[in-house]
């Protein structure tokens, strides 16, 4: 058992040292770049769609059930199926994958933005009104800054899920770090498989931690997420 572990570790070391895995079309920089590109595109498009909807619904307090149940429903849809359906409906390439990832990114961001705007204290809204803020200024200068922590928590959840799901792109002949896992399985190549797993895990953790740091950085001083957020988005991948 111990020798087996040792040999896998050594093989892993060799795999990471192998120039073929460090450069070129199947090298780590290329695969990482593909993975990040797919994810970033989906998160940005998703945020551009989801955040305005969540903010507007939250500001007016309308369609709350829709905003909240969207995430609950989204959770019941297997992300693996969404990727494969997008591939079969729209064919090969980055477009269908980004489309599928965007669909998965939207629900947590809508729900969190909605809840974030709803959570703004009614007294604060009244005070802003009393000070003569117009509606748009009130949203931009008062409500949004107070809502930043929870909105960012939604973006972070979406981003981690998108990065995780982008791994499945390799199954539909896409690129990204999932390539190593899928090829490692197909070729019975454990070092490649485990190296891919470590890279995917590392990227997911890096996404989580860097967006947590960003969340703290851009949250106004004095506004921090409560210890138990009202809405806890969940894992789907």
């Amino acid at each position: 058992m111990v020798t087996e572990t040792m040999s896998l570790l050594e093989q892993l070391w060799q795999w990471f040292a192998d120039p073929a895995n460090r450069q070129g079309s199947d090298g780590i920089p290329t695969r990482l770049g593909e993975h990040v590109q797919l994810s970033v595109e989906a998160i940005i498009i998703g945020a551009l769609i989801a955040l305005p909807i969540g903010v507007v619904l939250g500001h007016y307090g309308r369609f709350g059930n829709l905003a909240i149940n969207l995430s609950n429903a989204g959770r019941a849809v297997p992300s693996f199926a969404v990727i494969v359906l997008a591939f079969q409906a729209f064919g090969l390439g980055g477009g269908p994958i980004v489309f599928a990832l965007t669909l998965l990114a939207i629900p947590p961001m809508v729900t969190n933005a909605y809840v974030a705007l709803r959570e703004v204290d009614a007294d604060v809204r009244d005070a802003a009104r009393g000070m003569g803020y117009r509606e748009l200024a009130q949203v931009i200068r008062i409500e949004l800054p107070l809502a930043v922590p929870l909105i960012m928590a939604g973006v972070r959840t979406s981003a981690v899920q998108v990065v995780a799901t982008a791994t499945l792109a390799a199954l539909v002949a896409g690129g990204g770090l999932g390539r190593y896992i899928v090829d490692g399985l197909a070729r019975n190549d454990n070092p490649r498989l485990v190296a891919g797993a470590l890279l995917v895990a590392g990227l997911a953790l890096a996404t989580e931690f860097s967006l947590s740091a960003l969340e703290r950085l851009i949250s106004p001083r004095g506004v921090r997420l409560r210890r138990h957020p009202v809405y806890q988005p969940l894992k789907i991948v």
């Binding site: 019941a76 494969v84 359906l85 791994t167 499945l168 895990a201 953790l205 969940l234």
Partner: protein
Amino acid sequence: MAGGVFLDIVDPWINWNWLSTHIPTVLAALQQHVMLTAIAVATALVLSIPIGVVAHLWPAVRVPTLGALGVFYTIPSIALFALLIPYTGLTGTTAEIPLIGYNLLVLVRNVVVGLESVPPDVLDAADGMGYRRFARLVRIELPLALPAMFAGLRIATVSTIGIVTIAAVIGIGGLGQLILKGLIENFHTPLVVATILSIALALFLDLSLAGTQRIALPWSRKQ
């Protein structure tokens, strides 16, 4: 070569002929899906109660436990399956370990939240009635934490049903096997059937658990 529209004519989203001759295949996949989900949720549930109680009693345990489970939760399932394959192979164990770990985070957190939400007045009243620490925990605090635990159970169940499909990558995925079959054979029917059944299973179990909670825990209705 074949564009989406052309494919749609040749291969309908549901081919009823295939479905009518493959009902046993579909049911076997569904059964495996339910089993994988049940084992993952039940094991995590049994483990979560003692872990949650210990985490509630000692903050020194709570922070590292929830922290470690949180890191595990962030790692995508496909990466954990891949990491385990050299040790546990293409087996049910490889599929279950990540699923149980994910559910532990959800369930332990909800046990802790549930126990923390017990009002101090209730604890004072229990102390005044002469409850000892352990009896108070079992007879007062845990019953009052049950609604939060039930909420965790519903979330864990729905989330597990979706993640199980990914275990198809290692050959054990219940309905995920049908999704993979649809992908490999470029054939819509198993994919569509598996997607619909997976969503239906999640909604059915979620509603069943909600119904069970209403009947079994009448004190949680107003929450």
